[in-house]
Symmetry: C2
Subunit: 386 residues, 2 copies
């Protein structure tokens, strides 16, 4: 009935090789193998796609400044479209084709990253600026998808837990860094778009960051888990669309009441303020501000990425005083000069200034992008727990 698999490609061919040791390699079936993207030694990149019936093919990627920019490909007689771009600056890019205006992921590239409900093909252009994002021959931490009870939100919820290299082979206790995603994202975002495991592995191997546990939660208070695993398949509650009006303060409460006690009781942590950090981007920056304002004794290190505040009310001022009074090891703010939240981040700095609350400010080029958030993580992680 529905037991047969229609092969979207020549995958069945590969299976013919599975029973015996054959000297015939995969690529030798079906003629010369077309490669896309092909990265050249000078960091120019050739993109290729077969589209014999198309009248226009473009490629659109995160290397192009501005909204919706794209480059034309040129067809061969056989309908193979191609273009060589660059040299491209070292970066962990997302890109896709536009075939007669339809978005097409690169069929020749298995690597994909998901941003909310949108997927993009992935290209890592190597170089100094992207070096922390690469998988290197260094000790790797483990990354686990963990389900935990959240009585506060009345859900069993999912999070990712990164344990650093050496964790599994020691009895040591480690500090914990809670890392929060932004609106439209979920608990998957920092592990993929953010390259957190790679950045931490590399910073730790270089001796620049202390080995630490990193906990990446789902900040959408009415979701059990993100779309990477759940939505069409989970319970009604898990499928519920994100409703931010119902969520203000609730995620932060669950973080402190449910997540942190779970982590401290299931992992070898040092459960003190000086060994607990929190940072978040955009919506997650808002979560960070509210969680630290409401729980001054909880987090010694605070990071606010591409986020800020409106003109605060009196309660905010009082909380900030209490937070300052309680002692904070580091309050770190990162924002891009072109970020649409620039003014909010500026207001946050002004409020901190007014309270004589010491902070570190990192201003980057660019805007509200994962390119910046990877940089902020790379800058902040070495400052934690020192």
């Amino acid at each position: 009935m529905f037991k047969r698999k229609i092969s979207l490609s020549g995958v069945v061919v590969g299976l013919l090789l599975t029973l015996t040791a054959s000297s015939v390699l995969f690529g030798q079936f079906g003629g010369p193998r077309i490669i896309s993207p092909e990265l050249h030694p000078d960091n120019t990149v050739t993109f290729r796609i077969m589209a014999p019936l198309a009248s226009e093919v473009r490629v659109s990627g995160e290397w192009i400044a501005g909204y919706g920019g794209s480059e034309m490909l040129t067809p061969s007689d056989s309908g193979l479209w191609s273009v060589t771009l660059g040299p491209l600056a070292p970066e962990f890019y997302g890109y896709s084709f536009l075939v007669d205006s339809v978005q097409v992921l690169d069929p020749l590239n298995g690597l994909i990253k998901r941003d909310g409900v949108r997927n993009a093909s992935v290209l890592l252009v190597p170089g100094e600026e992207s070096d922390l994002y690469a998988v290197k021959d260094v000790p790797h931490g483990s990354l686990a998808k963990v389900w935990y009870p959240s009585p506060t939100l009345n859900l069993t919820r999912r999070m990712y837990v990164y344990t650093p290299p050496g964790y599994a082979d020691s009895n040591e206790r480690y500090p914990v860094f809670y890392l929060l995603h932004g609106g439209g994202g979920d608990e998957d975002a920092w592990t993929t778009l953010g390259r957190t495991p790679q950045i931490l592995d590399n910073l730790i191997a270089q001796g620049k960051a202390k080995p630490m546990i990193v906990v990446m939660t789902n900040g959408n208070a009415n979701q059990a888990a993100g779309s990477g695993d759940a939505p069409v398949m989970a319970s009604a509650a898990a499928q519920a669309p994100v409703d931010r009006t119902q969520s203000v303060g609730r995620f932060e409460e669950s973080l402190v009441k449910d997540v942190i006690p779970y982590i401290d009781s299931h992992y070898r942590t040092v459960a003190t303020k000086e060994n607990r950090a929190i940072a978040g981007l955009s919506m997650g920056g808002g979560h960070t501000i509210r969680a630290t304002n409401s729980h001054p004794d909880m987090f010694g290190y605070i990071g606010v990425f591409s986020s800020g505040t409106r003109e605060p009310d009196e309660a905010f001022h009082q909380q900030l005083d209490a937070l300052k009074e309680s002692g904070v090891n580091l309050y770190w703010i990162g924002c891009g000069v072109d970020d649409f939240v620039y003014e909010s981040a500026k207001t946050l700095r002004e409020v901190l200034d007014a309270h004589d609350f010491e902070y570190t400010y990192y201003e980057s080029s660019g805007g509200h992008t994962w390119a910046n958030w990877r940089i902020y993580l790379s800058e902040l992680a070495p400052l934690l727990f020192k």
Copy 2:
């Protein structure tokens, strides 16, 4: 420079909501939201894609028997193509569009599964036959990506480890099931295409399977990790194309010498033959046959999915005698009547018959498909460790 993100969609819109609690919901920007796939109560499904310039749009999915079958969509005046199919039988399907013959993942569906280097959009049609594949409101196990040293293969390699619900909250020891993928796949395959975490969570919740640890390794002996994480970014060794001629027996050796000792020393296992199972599909079935023949005292439960053997040589016969002599709790073979390896699986059964080696044979409809391998896992797991 490359700090700005080009939005492949309207993702930036979502980010505008991230700083304040807005009552405006995501879908209210940009007009009425188009849904694809839309699952109707009778399990008919409507597929939709905007392609105003296309002259032909088809949808191709695993519900269609045979290679390359597809259904036509019909355009509206605005260029929105749609078709309603089914009712579709309950199953965990992959599908994609063909827009003027170019494969296009459903841009409105964030859920994707990867088979080797090929991606497909995902659709779970609910019902009895797919019930084990759904994320349910039951206790969930954890799934971890773990890197381990493989001196045998001279690589640090990656595997997935599923620990059952309750593992993190107990001091109990658990049996271990080693589950191997096929050619063209990697350690990711059983976790996504195979729905292993969901199947185990559900079988355990129903009391049908014993709580167990499931270890999903990478069976390509010269790869450090599969393309989900590594290839363009890893070391030269990790990027090396799969070379099966170099691999025969090497993965099996590393499984026994590197993986099993690592698991037994890092997890709370019962490290006895009676509490150790192994199964694999296709190439992984070959791995299973060779690993159990070569290490008769290692695995009490053996599963061979869609695989078998050629007419065996004398050494094979001797190994099989030794394996039988050592005592095996279960030798389980699953194959589809339309599978191209059907004759190999038959030869395996005949050889076992000739040795009076007891086995269980499960013959399904269909062929060499993940639909069958999910069924075989669902059938075998309840028989383990009992």
